[in-house]
Symmetry: C2
Subunit: 320 residues, 2 copies
Amino acid sequence: MRELGEFGLIARINAGREQGPGVLLGPGDDAAVVAAPEGRFVVTTDMLVQDRHFRLDWSGGHDIGRKAIAQNAADVVAMGATPSAFVVSFGCPPETPVDFVTDLADGMWAEAERAGASIAGGDVVRAPLLVISVTAFGDPAGREPILKSGARPGDVVAVAGLLGWSAAGLGLLLDGNDTENYRCVDTSYWSEVVAVHKVPQPPYAAVLDLPPGSEPTALTDVSDGLLADLGHIAESSGVAVDLDSAALADPMLDPIAQALETNALDWILAGGEDHAFAATFPESVDLPAGWVRIGRVLEGSGVTVDGAARSGPTGWESFA
Amino acid sequence: MRELGEFGLIARINAGREQGPGVLLGPGDDAAVVAAPEGRFVVTTDMLVQDRHFRLDWSGGHDIGRKAIAQNAADVVAMGATPSAFVVSFGCPPETPVDFVTDLADGMWAEAERAGASIAGGDVVRAPLLVISVTAFGDPAGREPILKSGARPGDVVAVAGLLGWSAAGLGLLLDGNDTENYRCVDTSYWSEVVAVHKVPQPPYAAVLDLPPGSEPTALTDVSDGLLADLGHIAESSGVAVDLDSAALADPMLDPIAQALETNALDWILAGGEDHAFAATFPESVDLPAGWVRIGRVLEGSGVTVDGAARSGPTGWESFA
């Protein structure tokens, strides 16, 4: 980086990129211009810090770039909105290899395109460690934003996407990810679980392709952990949520939990960084493709599992 | 921060805030919703890193917050757009005093309101040092965005705002800011110069209140240094710029430069972080209030001073 410099890097990472239809003016001026055809836009921002949200001994630039975009795109989609553009601020030490940064940009672009959008601009600064801040934009796409506050007693609680896989993958990485230790079990898919931790794959289409008439009453991204995020829906909506542990069970996670001497249900309920979607649907709605029923909305407050309060971990807290 | 936690902090810094008309949905859901009444919005992002863009021994939270918002608002205004909203990502160590963070938020809100907008949301994460990433939005306000590429030979080059004061203030801070050393000169206003370094005060109104018919042909924020930023206009527009050093001279800076044994014109031409505005106007336009003529646009390329290339510092480069 020291040799290429800020402006050289910006030219390198923007070369040959093709902006999506949402970006009316890309990098190069004081600011970018993004379309908001419905007269309003959805916006969210997330910061990723080296050794806190990613580790360079586990992930390459491409994976980190995909993760940074995916977790922001998931927040846009969790409003029922269609991603339109991203901007990225990036801090790194001067000795950072340029190849790492171009891999990072390639990963960001790949995930932005998977979400149907492009990267409209950003900022590159010097920092003692890698810091990535992404801001994501979306169009409401013809409907009111789907908030956390719309759940009603009687609604069905459902999820789309993988729960607990990210936490299980993290567990494997912390354990050294050495499947040689576990010769008597089928470990063939464990690398896939690790990959899900490194690069979350939010099922954007499960929300964006919802058939008209099957809109959720409430919707959120599962990032802090299922209990925590459903807790936000319960609190915002003034309702209670009860989960069905049998519906949440994932037989793929059990052997990993056993090997690591922990509890797969803790990963599923409180692991965090799932970037699945959790929603409440009116009972009359046939659950659309990709959604699995995991519980129901009741009168009251709080989140229970099989009718009882859950002890143990409840989710991610930045300063715990 | 460790005691209050992420969600406690978010509640504390959002308490009692009143969103501006540009923010349709503020903090609390997966994303915010911001108005874009003209069907498009201007967006820019900047990251500030502790000890690189601010120092805790020089600046308190309020000043750092104002600076973070001001430098982003200046980029929105430099497109000819009116600030509508900001989002903020913030990383800090768990031992950060909560008062520092609330001061930072208060400073951000104060500057956001000075720019006519509010803070729609953000993210708080743990980091080994303070990192602030701001993304700013603006409405084109009924006109085409004013780009760097519109300067034409014959145009007048003008600036609004203070040039070189930020660099002079930095010089004084690096020197220990001890006016006792300089007893024979009038140092009464030096603290004001230091204050301009800590909190830039972009003259938003000089752009936002431009009378119809007096629009610049090109416009930019002066952040990298006047030569560098006018160089971007010259390159984007395919023109040359020649500056008049007599018009740039600032007698307030001369005694400080003399005391610090440096050259005030270097500060003015290449100091950076001025967050003044530089523009080119058609020769027929009477320069509006707040604008000072400093040179002219010629055929050719590059930026000269009094007809000659300038040796010496040319501006900010993140990885130099």
